[in-house]
Symmetry: C2
Subunit: 251 residues, 2 copies
């Protein structure tokens, strides 16, 4: 059965894009057929996968507006996964979809025809809880929440969970929360360990194995490849291989 | 003359909120009268200044919608600066202002009456280039761009500068760019030094003294105080005192 994982957190810079790119690469490395969807007008995932968002012919924006089916916009990437790319035009989507009844379902309906072609679909969300992210949450079978073990990031989780309640009530009854993924984790800082413990106690959510902070991650996006290519045997690459394995096991 | 500094970058997690809170605290410590404006529905600045966004009576949302003047919503903070707080209702602003002619000017017009009361106004923007951020850029006398010296952050600067061109052409002819502030800077990583050099060469923009990465920053928001209170003599606190001094000198 199709598995569609929304990777969301409205707090900025918590490694959503890095998680989608690296986990996607790990799944492809393990021989799985993977589709990555860039749902951020800033198109960071698209860029990080080695694709120039300004040169792309068709994007997820065209698909959401019903101009063409997803297969026309999906492209292969050097790293391995397929990609449904974004571009800056996507910033118009909020307005364009605003008054359409069923606006939360446009991604779900578009994916219905292609998701069965893949073992796993991962969706990279922008730092907001607007209509694009709601589309991701409505289309997904499960949600993964990357977060930094820091106070400002912790605060956003409560707000995100309220949004999940609404989504489960109105647009996606069967959305599962896979869990919280602590990212850029520095185990030596007391605050990080305390925030992690808080999250475990305060929310009834699985807390996945933290991905440690590593300078190797920042090198990857500029090369258009993930850390699995730029630092193949690093702890960072290994951490995302283990996340990919955990994802596959849950099937 | 009133100085209104928009602190903006649509990339997430590049220390916009930390910069506004810390610089505001440093200006107050130096005896200046400072107003901080939270323009993010996630209300991180409000929270970081020790104010509970869910308990606030009037917010910047009410002001933008013309329900009341800014003085009714401005509150003092334990750290020193005054604050025009945000709350989650602000996420409705995008839609509510969408069809109003002159929607880019609502903040500018609201501030006209109160900005003269202050030596400096700092505006914390959300990670987006939507109508709220355009309001900040239209209201501001100058723009400060915090950024991480990493590729994904660098990419956003070009897009931001295009937005500045539009703002200068249509809504705020005299907007100055104060410069780029490298944040969370790790001078030991080669990539960080390269990205910094790239920024200097590629854009004709001042690059301010970098603020170094320090674990002391993450401790502050949870206490409702800035690093100037939680780690008074740390290098991080000193870096923001120097930025405040540079800001005041430019008057
Ligand atoms: N484990 C890590 N260690 C160190 N740096 C990391 C790690 N993971 C990601 N980064 C870096 O942190 C920065 C922010 O990551 P990323 O852009 O993936 O976050 P995001 O949540 O997608 O941000 P946004 O909210 O803007 O979409 C990037 O420069 C990335 O390379
Ligand atoms: N110099 C620094 N060293 C280490 N950590 C820092 C530094 N500056 C800020 N931080 C931490 O990095 C995280 C992100 O910072 P912050 O929330 O200020 O960024 P932002 O740009 O406002 O994010 P958003 O785009 O979500 O509004 C926070 O947890 C903050 O405490
Ligand atoms: Mg991202
Ligand atoms: Mg912020």
């Amino acid at each position: 059965d199709s598995r569609i994982v929304a990777v969301a957190n409205q707090k900025g810079g918590v490694a959503k894009t890095t998680t989608v790119a690296s986990t996607g690469a790990a799944l492809a490395e393990a021989g799985r057929k993977v589709l990555l969807i860039d749902l951020d007008p800033q198109a960071c995932l698209t860029f990080a996968m080695g694709i120039d968002p300004d040169q792309v012919q068709f994007t997820v924006h065209d698909v959401l507006l019903g101009r063409l089916g997803p297969r026309m916009a999906i492209i292969p990437t050097p790293e391995g996964p397929d990609l449904l790319p974004a571009s800056i035009e996507l910033s118009g989507a909020e307005m364009q979809l605003a008054n359409r009844t069923g606006r939360e379902y446009v991604l779900r309906e578009a994916l219905a025809e292609v998701a069965p072609d893949y073992d796993m679909v991962l969706i990279d969300c922008s730092p907001s809880l607007g209509v694009l992210t709601i589309n991701a949450l409505t289309a997904a079978t499960e949600l993964l929440i990357p977060m930094q073990a820091e106070t400002l990031s912790h605060r956003g989780v409560a707000q995100l969970l309220e949004t999940i309640d609404d989504v489960r009530r109105y647009t996606n009854r069967s959305l599962q929360i896979m869990g919280v993924l602590p990212t850029m984790f520095d185990a030596r800082t007391r605050l990080a360990r305390e925030v992690l413990k808080d999250i475990e106690e305060q929310y009834d959510l699985p807390v996945l194995t933290p991905v440690s902070r590593s300078v190797r991650f920042a090198e990857a996006p500029g090369t258009g490849r993930s850390i699995l290519s730029t630092a193949r045997r690093s702890r960072g690459a290994q951490a995302y291989r283990e996340l990919a394995a955990a994802l596959m096991e849950a099937s």
